[in-house]
């Protein structure tokens, strides 16, 4: 029981929470994902040491290491950390996350504060040890900001990452969250990102899932307040023999709440990608609106992909719709580009970009959009080279 790592001055209440969670790790089941089985994955190794995070300076808001925040803002951490948005006792992996936390950040933006410049954070996962990372984002009433998270792996050791992001968007706040995940080839990861969206608050998710290793991702948005709104954009590329399962879920609780999911996945080589788009409208959420699009492009006949829209609607007065497709590269576009002299590989990459275009163009931040395009090009070029080498 005492083999849990902790910081030197960790408050007792937090250490107790760790231990409470630890007892649940072996008792609780793993989260479930339709059509994607990861029962055999080893996702709960003990952490070795605490990792401090370098952070940019904050002016009119709080951005600090979560272990410091436990002492400086204990009330915030007690109230929100694995307690409101995601509960620590939901499943095996949330319990593991709480017990073995070894890296984290608190971002707190006070009432009425508008942060003009995007708040950017870089996470470097060290592949010699497990990475259990938490980002807690609290947007007080009427605050507005955008947050950009980049995540990379150092080294190519075999390791596990368990990364949780919780977003609390209080009434009338506006949070634009963007992430480019680039965990390494030998990293098996569980990613869970969830937002609690209060009255008339807005959360914009732009997620580039560019990991090279096996990944299970849960992206959830709880539209709790009246008029709560969220746009969820996910771009995903799988290559090699990567296995990836993505659950993107929006739950409309609030009246007139709006939640739109738009996901695009490109599957190359022998990789596997499952997109589940889950729209759940709770009874009483009258006037709610939930649309989703899940599209997958197959680059290889050895790849396996699926796009499943799942709609659960318990209220009559709503608007809901879905579109899903699994298809091949558009030959007409390919021909057009090649007729201008572009070689097949380059043309193929541009056609893929066109396929992702609908999601890419809706990403609000231009730098993130360009960065994502570059990452996509790089990942696809790597995939294409691998394919050629095999021939």
């Amino acid at each position: 029981m005492n083999n849990l790592v902790k910081v030197e001055n960790e408050p007792t209440w937090f250490t107790e929470k760790r231990q409470q969670a630890l007892e649940l790790v072996s008792k609780l089941p793993s989260p479930k994902m339709q059509r994607f089985d990861f029962r055999d994955w080893q996702l709960t190794p003990p952490t070795i040491k605490i990792i401090k995070t370098k952070l940019p300076k904050a002016e009119n808001f709080v951005l600090m290491d979560i272990f410091e925040a436990m002492n400086e803002y204990p009330d915030l951490i007690k109230q929100y950390f694995m307690n409101k948005v995601i509960k620590f006792d939901e499943n095996k992996l949330t319990a593991y996350h709480t017990a073995y936390l070894n890296q984290g950040i608190l971002l707190y933006v006070p009432k009425n504060i508008v942060v003009e410049k995007p708040i950017e954070v870089e996470l470097n996962q060290d592949s010699t040890q497990p990475f259990v990372s938490h980002i807690l984002i609290i947007a007080e009433e009427n605050s507005q900001f955008s947050f950009i998270q980049r995540m990379k792996t150092k080294g190519d050791g075999k390791s596990v990452a368990n990364c949780v992001v919780e977003v609390v968007a209080l009434p009338n706040s506006e949070v634009k969250y963007a992430a480019v995940d680039e965990l390494g080839k030998n990293v098996t990861s569980y990613l869970s990102r969830r937002a609690f969206v209060d009255d008339n608050a807005y959360v914009d998710w732009s997620i580039g899932l560019m990991n090279e290793g096996d990944t299970v991702a849960d992206f959830d948005t709880d539209l709790v307040g009246e008029g709560a709104h969220s746009e969820i954009k996910v771009v995903d590329i799988t290559t090699g023999d990567q296995q990836e399962g993505v659950n993107t879920r929006v739950t409309n609780y609030g009246k007139h709440s709006i939640g739109n999911i738009n996901q695009r996945g490109v599957i190359a080589d022998k990789s596997k990608l499952i997109f589940n788009g889950i729209g759940h409208i709770i009874k009483g959420a009258s006037g709610a609106n939930a649309e989703q699009q899940n599209r997958v492009l197959m680059m290889s006949s050895d790849a396996h992909g699926d796009a499943n829209p799942i709609l659960l609607i318990d209220e009559n007065d709503v608007l809901a719709g879905h579109a899903a497709s699994v298809g091949q590269v558009d030959q007409n576009q390919l021909y057009y580009l090649m007729s201008r002299g572009l070689d097949q590989k380059t043309a193929q990459r541009l056609v893929i970009r066109g396929f992702l275009g609908d999601v890419l163009v809706s990403i609000p931040s231009k730098p993130i959009r360009q960065e994502l395009i570059q990452t996509i090009e790089r990942k696809l070029a790597d995939g294409q080279n691998k394919t050629t080498d095999q021939r």
Partner: protein, 263 residues
């Protein structure tokens, strides 16, 4: 000087639904050199577009006989991109739309595909050339930051094809119904673009249904195609004669047994 020769070309198209193949070109002969503008006229469904798509290398068109030579070398086994880099350009009737790829980025990639790895076009040179051509075609700079053909009107797409032509500077341009759907002002702009390319290092094969376009781009040679063959070749006067007498008139004069689709 470059030369494009089409020799006794026979082409079939496979219908995706019925899986049956249909003979479209039945022995086309045509030879042209840079410095010349040729026009191919003919009624609907006679194989004009098939000819241009076959020259470019569209996969659905199968060559069953004959040859296409560029400077004496057969291009039949070359993939589309290689034909393009050898100097062929097809201004398409229905250009593809690609979201997420800007026009400017695409143009640069197309230009650079013809250049060595250590000799890519500089941003300055590219922009200079781009500005010059935008002005010539009466296009706004904003067009180049838009996504490739995405949401473009019919006229904008045609202009964009000509912009690519001016930027890429091929030896031979195949212009497939570049006049369709254009109002008179747009037609003048498009013609101005093509005429600006005229010179010893450029040849064009203009495919058109109407004589109208040829008032603005005067051809050196006019070919008339019917039922998969070139049935008559002449000078610019031939286009005028067709305008006056129609395709049926020419058919009867030549004593051909051909059904015209729109008759």
């Amino acid at each position: 000087m470059a030369e494009l020769e089409i020799k006794d070309l026979h082409v079939e198209v496979v219908d995706e639904e019925t899986k049956t193949s249909k003979k479209i070109l039945k022995g086309v002969n045509l030879s042209m050199k840079t410095g010349e503008i040729h026009a191919i006229m003919g009624p609907n469904g006679t194989g004009k577009s098939t000819l241009s798509q076959t020259i470019m290398g569209q996969k659905n068109y199968h060559v069953t006989g004959g040859d296409i030579l560029l400077n004496g070398e057969s291009i039949l086994d070359m993939p589309v991109d290689q034909r393009a880099r050898k100097g062929l350009f097809l201004a398409m009737q229905y250009p593809a739309e690609i979201q997420g790829v800007t026009n400017a980025e695409f143009l640069r990639a197309a230009i650079n595909s013809r250049r060595a790895e250590d000799d890519k076009i500089s941003v300055m040179d590219f922009l200079k050339e781009l500005d010059k051509n935008l002005e010539l075609l009466d296009m706004s700079e904003e067009m180049t930051e838009r996504y490739l053909n995405e949401g473009f009107s019919g006229g904008e797409k045609k202009r964009n094809e000509i912009l690519q032509l001016l930027m890429i500077k091929p030896s031979f341009a195949l212009l497939d119904e570049i006049d369709s759907g254009l109002d008179i002002d747009a037609l003048k702009v498009v013609s101005k673009g093509v005429n600006s390319m005229r010179g010893d290092n450029f040849g064009a094969l203009i495919i058109t249904h109407y004589q109208r376009l040829l008032n603005y781009i005067t051809p050196d040679v006019v070919h008339v195609m019917m039922d998969g063959k070139i049935v008559k070749t002449g000078d610019a006067q031939l286009a005028q004669k067709l305008e006056d007498e129609g395709y049926a008139g020419l058919r009867d004069e030549l004593g051909l047994d051909v059904n015209l689709v729109d008759e």
